[in-house]
């Protein structure tokens, strides 16, 4: 029989409270991970388990017979396995059970517990942890359902909140802006004026989003040529870039010039030549390379390093706000998971209740038929049918109601009552 409680436990350490020098000691690499999963599932106290080990966290999710003992056992296991003494590590461990463990997993998968809120990598890592455990058969009905649910929750959070839609680095914010101006970057070109490291990074980011044409201009032609080569672009003479500006949809400047090198008139000419096709100018240079009045021109969008930093800061704040919406979704989903779990519980109880009634019916009918030896086989059959349908009729409503009630908050009370009234646990 499936126990009436989930008995889920979670023991772990993460980047929030545990320094990296401890986390790295507790990490499980792939080989260790597989051995550990097999070891844990062979423990009689543990029915299912999954180990999640990333650079920011080490967590073991398990279904155990007794939660308090289970938590101690898992903590001991982590320490023993890495040959460390438990005493010095106890302060770093956190442990949760049942609802809290479910909520924690949902938060982790939806990237609410990540160092960078909303980053996408963690979901893949949770998926890997799950498939490794599944391949080794260390999971069962409950953890399978729980992790599948966690993936759905993560997807839902991603789709219904803005938790990961806003870039939180300078170059991702720049790419996002470019996509809000040009939609799809494939047929667009970028020009680098100056070969600063950050400009190169931003250009690479744009290229990864489909930008195909790249121009590079630098005061020293050799540097332009070598960067152009790495970016698969074409180098320009520094004096020529002003005439070629109109070719670029996105311009990134990062020279060390002490004064503005791009003025309003230059962009005015370029935009005229482009028949008003928009230009996105990104000025990462300090001191700035582009005169700020350029932004007054229509179809021209100029962002300097501070503007981009402001966007990043605002995005971070926004992700924090979205995290609150995400928590609402997670709370709802925890309840849904619990509902699923309780229906799981109702089924065996219903089966037992019906079996018990059928046993009683059989005993009583057989007793009666013994004294009615004269009646025909057909009549005997009729008596069986009559009593069977009587039992079914009587149990029909309780069965339906029990299924319904187990969905509610106090479902376990009804289950307990049924088990008690029908003597199912004797």
């Amino acid at each position: 029989m499936i126990s009436s409680e989930a008995n889920l436990v979670l023991v772990g350490v993460n980047h929030k409270a545990t320094p990296v020098e401890i986390r790295e000691k507790l990490a499980f690499n792939q080989v260790k991970l597989e051995a550990s999963l097999e070891h844990l599932v062979s423990c009689p106290e543990i029915t299912e388990n999954i180990i999640l080990s990333t650079c920011n966290r080490v967590e073991i999710y398990a279904r155990v017979d007794n939660t308090d003992q289970g938590i101690q056992l898992l903590k001991d296991f982590i320490c023993d396995y890495h040959g460390l003494s438990r005493g010095s590590l106890d302060q770093y461990f956190y442990s949760y059970q049942d609802d809290q463990a479910i909520e924690h997993l949902f938060r982790v998968s939806a990237s609410l517990d990540s160092m960078i809120l909303g980053e996408a990598q963690i979901l893949g890592q949770v998926k890997d942890a799950y498939s490794t455990a599944r391949a080794l058969s260390s999971t069962g009905l409950v953890l399978n359902q729980l992790f599948e649910k966690a993936f759905n929750v993560a997807k839902k959070v991603r789709e219904e909140t803005g938790i990961s839609e806003r870039g939180v680095s300078i170059s991702s914010a720049a790419v996002e802006l470019a996509k809000k101006i040009f939609e799809d970057l494939e047929n667009h070109s970028v020009m680098l004026v100056g070969t600063g490291e950050m400009a190169e990074l931003a250009a690479k980011h744009l290229i990864s989003y489909g930008v195909k044409t790249v121009y590079v201009a630098s005061r020293t032609y050799e540097r332009a040529a070598s960067l152009a080569e790495t970016l698969n672009g074409c180098a320009l003479d520094f004096d020529a870039f002003k005439e070629e500006l109109y070719r670029a949809d996105i311009v990134i400047t990062s020279t060390s010039a002490p004064k503005f090198i791009i003025h309003k008139e230059m962009i005015e000419q370029a935009i005229h030549k482009r028949k008003n096709k928009p230009i996105f100018l990104i000025d990462i240079a300090v001191p700035r390379d582009i005169a700020p009045e350029v932004n007054d021109l229509e179809n021209v969008y100029l962002y300097d390093i501070d503007d981009l930093q402001n966007v990043v800061n605002a995005n971070m704040e926004e992700r924090q706000k979205e995290a609150e919406n995400a928590m609402e979704i997670i709370k709802e989903e925890v309840t849904k998971f619990n509902n699923w779990f309780s229906t799981l519980d109702a089924v065996p109880t219903i089966v037992e209740m019906r079996n018990r009634a059928e046993e009683m019916r059989k005993v009583e009918v057989d007793k009666t038929l013994k004294n009615l030896a004269h009646i025909s086989e057909e009549d005997q059959k009729a008596i069986h049918q009559l009593t069977q349908s009587l039992v079914n009729k009587i149990l029909h409503k309780p069965t339906i109601n029990l299924k319904k009630k187990t969905q509610s908050q106090d479902g376990h009370v009804y289950l307990k009552a049924i088990r008690h009234l029908f003597h199912l646990d004797d």
Binding site: E160, E165, K180, I181, E183, K275, E298, Y301
Partner: protein, 263 residues
């Protein structure tokens, strides 16, 4: 029967408008799906209304002010669906459907009297004139919505204050392209509507063209605005903010013209 279907579609468009607003503000996919179905249901009911009315009059819904408003709102929904299917801009609904609702609500207060036009050559030119013009207006209404969305998005990118709308609304390029495409379709239809209107005038023994202050002049103004946007784009590369403003101004003139006609 046609009253019931009319009210049902009006109610559906109201619900859909609210649904699209909620979706724009809170991003709940089921709400957007609900709104989409409401628009679909509204369109079916409205089609029934128009069908019943046309079977009563024996011709299309374009003779009275009521019919014109009803037909315009119906075509706006049709064009909206086509656009949504092609561009997948979910939030366009939040800008178009409320407009549809307002046009239809307005029509509810107009006289429902029918004006019968007997089968004749006159009727043919009237049909052409009104149908083509209203098709043009429906396209312009989408350009209007795209224009408003463009201005909101452009303002955010330009002022560097990137709010919720910045993330939810499509890129400037997509909105500009949509604005361009619908005007590309709407302007020739509207022009043909204008011309067939003049032919209809001659059929009614009226002059081909008259400098009527309330009827013709506003139409000429409307035509000139869209003409500027249309050829401005093709010849001098007028785009972005100016094109969006042109589409908005144009549609405001369309509405003004309609009111002048009613008065």
């Amino acid at each position: 029967m046609d009253k019931i279907s009319f009210n049902l579609s009006l109610f559906s468009y109201l619900m859909a408008s609210l649904g699209y607003f909620v979706y724009l503000a809170y991003r709940r996919p089921p709400v957007s799906t609900f709104a989409g179905w409401m628009v679909g249901f509204g369109l079916v009911c409205q089609t029934v209304t128009i069908g019943i009315r046309s079977s009563q009059t024996g011709h299309g819904p374009y003779t009275t002010s009521f019919e014109v408003a009803l037909f315009l709102s119906w075509l706006m929904v049709v064009v909206y669906f086509l656009t949504e299917w092609k561009y997948k801009i979910k939030d366009l609904g939040a800008f178009v459907i409320p407009l549809v609702f307002v046009v239809m609500l307005f029509s509810a207060f107009l006289s429902k009297e029918t004006a019968l036009v007997p089968e004749s050559e006159v009727r043919f030119w009237l049909t052409m004139h009104r149908t083509l013009s209203i098709m043009g207006y429906a396209a312009f209404s989408i350009a209007f919505a795209a224009g408003i969305m463009y201005l909101i998005q452009e303002h955010q990118v330009k002022s560097k204050k990137l709010g919720m709308m910045y993330f939810r609304m499509p890129s400037l390029e997509v909105l500009d392209d949509l604005n361009f495409k619908v005007i590309m379709i709407g302007f020739p239809l509207f022009t043909l509507g204008f011309m067939t209107g003049s032919i209809w005038n001659t059929q009614m023994d009226l002059p081909f063209f008259s400098w009527d202050l309330t009827r013709t002049l506003p139409l000429v103004a409307t035509w000139l605005i869209y003409c500027m946007v249309f050829f401005g784009r093709m010849i001098v590369g007028m785009r972005g903010k100016k094109a969006a403003q042109g589409a908005i101004l144009g549609f405001i003139t369309v509405i003004g013209t309609y009111f002048l006609h009613i008065i």
